[in-house]
Symmetry: none
Subunit: 179 residues, 4 copies
C-alpha cells in the first residue's frame, strides 16, 4: 500500500474529478484515503495545496523542443498531434485541469501552458510539413490556433455538449486550406 501522502492525492484526484474541488470536503478526502483528518493538514496545510500539488505533480505539459513532422504531409502530421495531447495526465487529472481552471491560478497557468504548447506544435508541424514556406505567417498562425482550439474543445466541451468532433477530418481540412 502506498504512503499516506500518495493515498491522499489519489483520493483527491478521484473526488475532485467526480464532484469538483469546492464540493469535496477535506474530511471526505481523508476518509477515502484512509488517513486521519489531521494528517491531511500535516502534508497540505491548506486545502488548496492539495489541488496545487495535484496539478504540479500529476499533470505535465510535454514541451518538446522538437516536434515530429513529415514534410509534405500536413494532414498526417496534425492527425498524429491530435492522437495524443502533449499532456501527461490521467483522465481524472485532465478533467480537473479543465473543471478547476477558475479555482486557482496554478490550474489556469497549466491549462494556458498546454494551450501554448498545442499552438506551438501545430505551427511548427505545419511549417515543416508544408511544401513551400509562403510568407503568409498569419494564416499559418490562424491554422495552428484553430487546431489547438479544436483539440481543447474536444477534450473539454465535448463532454458537456455531447457533440463529437473528428480531429482527423479537421486536420485534413486545415491541410487542404494551406497547401
Amino acid at each position: 500500500m502506498p504512503g499516506a501522502r500518495t493515498r491522499i492525492l489519489d483520493a483527491a484526484e478521484e473526488l475532485f474529478a467526480g464532484g469538483g474541488y469546492d464540493a469535496t470536503p477535506t474530511a471526505q478526502i481523508a476518509r477515502t484515503a484512509g488517513v486521519p483528518k489531521g494528517l491531511l493538514f500535516h502534508y497540505f496545510p491548506k486545502k488548496i495545496d492539495v489541488l496545487i500539488t495535484l496539478i504540479d505533480e500529476r499533470t505535465l505539459v510535454v514541451e518538446a523542443p522538437e516536434v515530429e513532422a513529415v514534410p509534405g504531409d500536413a494532414a498526417g502530421t496534425l492527425s498524429r498531434l491530435a492522437r495524443r495531447l502533449p499532456l501527461r495526465a490521467s483522465p481524472a487529472m485532465r478533467r480537473i485541469l479543465f473543471r478547476e481552471a477558475d479555482t486557482h491560478g496554478s490550474v489556469r497557468e497549466r491549462l494556458g501552458r498546454l494551450n501554448g504548447e498545442l499552438i506551438r506544435r501545430a505551427r511548427f508541424a505545419l511549417e515543416l510539413a508544408l511544401p513551400t514556406r509562403r510568407g503568409d505567417a498569419a494564416r499559418l498562425e490562424a491554422a495552428a490556433a484553430t487546431f489547438a482550439a479544436v483539440l481543447l474543445y474536444q477534450e473539454n466541451l465535448c463532454q458537456l455538449t455531447g457533440h463529437q468532433i473528428d480531429p482527423d477530418a479537421v486536420a485534413e481540412l486545415i491541410a487542404m486550406a494551406l497547401v
Copy 2:
C-alpha cells in the same frame, strides 16, 4: 428603482460572474441587491433557483430558422456569423454560462444548445455560400464543427489562457479549404 426580484437577479448576475456560484453566499446577493435575506428565498426557494432563473431569463440562444448567407462568399458569411454569437446575453451572463457549466444541468443544456446552433448555422451558411454542392458532407460537417469550436474557444478559454484568436482568419481558412 427596479423591483426586488430584478435587483436580486442583477446582484447574482454580477456576483456569479465575478466570484462564481459556489463562492457567492446568498447573504451577499441579498446585501448587494439591497433586500433582506429572507426575501431572496421568497422568490427563489433554493439558491440554485437563482442560477437557473438567470440562465432561463437572461440567456437566449437565438435559433433562427434562416441564416443569412451570401452565395459565393463563404469566408464573409462565416465572419459575419463570428461577429455576433447567436446568443442574447450580457457579458456577465456569458461568463456564467461557461463558468457554471458543471454546476447545474440547466446551464449545461443551454451551453449545448448554443453549441448546436453554432454548428447548425455554420453548416447552413457554408452550404449556401459554397458555389457547388459537392457530395462531401463529412468535410462540411468538420468545417462547421471546427468553426463552432473556435468561437466557443474564443468566448471561453481565451480569457483563461490569454491567447487571442482571430475569427476572420479562421473563416478565411475554412473557406479556402472548401472551395
Copy 3:
C-alpha cells in the same frame, strides 16, 4: 365551499393530526386551506391561536349531569361508557388532543377535563349499578380511575404501542371485583 376561517381550521386539523403542531408551518396551513397567508393571521393573530381555537371549537367534553346506569349491571354500565367516550370530536381532533398535550395549556386543560369526566362517570355509574352502597369509597374510586386510565390508554397509547385492549373485558373485571 365553506368560508375561509372554516377552511383554515379544517386544514390545520388535518395537518396537526398528521405531522404535529410544531412541524406544520403556517404557510402550509394556508396553502392547504386555499387562502392567502395573510388572511390566516387576520383570523388567528398567532399560530397558537389556531390550535387553541381548534381545541375550543372542535372538541367538547360532554359533562352530563346525569349518567345512565343500570342498577345491578355494573359491567354493562361500564361497557356502555366505554363504547363512546364523552368526547365530541373527530378522530383527527382526538389525535391532536393527546399529541399536543404538551404544546399548550388549553389542550392539557381539555384533556384533564376529559379525564375528570371519565372518572366522574365511572364512579357515578358504579355507585348506581352496584347492589349495595358499601362504605368502601376508596375502592370504588380506584375502580373508576382504573377504568378511565384504560379508556385513555386505549385512545392514546394503543396507537403508539400497537397493543390492543378490550374495554368490555375490563368492565367485567372491575364489576367482578366490586360485587
Copy 4:
C-alpha cells in the same frame, strides 16, 4: 468533569425533558453543555441522533426472564410490580420517553417494549399468584393489560391531568376480581 459527549447528553436530557425536543435548539444544548456548537455535530451528525442516543443509552427496559411472584398473594405481587417500573431511567428520561413518542420511531419502540414487558410481568405474576389456574385466560389477559395501562397512565397522564391514582388500590382491586 465528564467528557464533552457526556456533557452534551446531560444537557440534552435536561432540556428535552423540560421544553421538548423540537423547542430545544442545538445551540442551547451546546451552551448548556459548555461545548462549542460544532462539537455537538462531531458526536451527533444530526440533532435527532442526540435523542436516539439518549433513548438508546439512558433508558433500559429490564426484560427479566423471571418475575418474582408470591403464590396466593396476587395483590401484593402486583403492588410490588408497581413499586418500580421495569425501566432503568432517570425521571427526566422517563419524561422524554413519553413526551417524544411521536418524534422518532426509536422512542416509540422503546415505549412499546416497556408496555409489553409490563403486560408480560403482570400476566406472569398473576398466573403464579393466583391459587388455582382457571381456564379463563382472557380475563387474566385483560387484568394484565389493565394494570399496565394504569401504570403507564400514572407515569404519563397524571402529570398532565393532575389526577393521582393509587396503584396499590388497583392491585387489590384486580386481585379481588380474579380470586
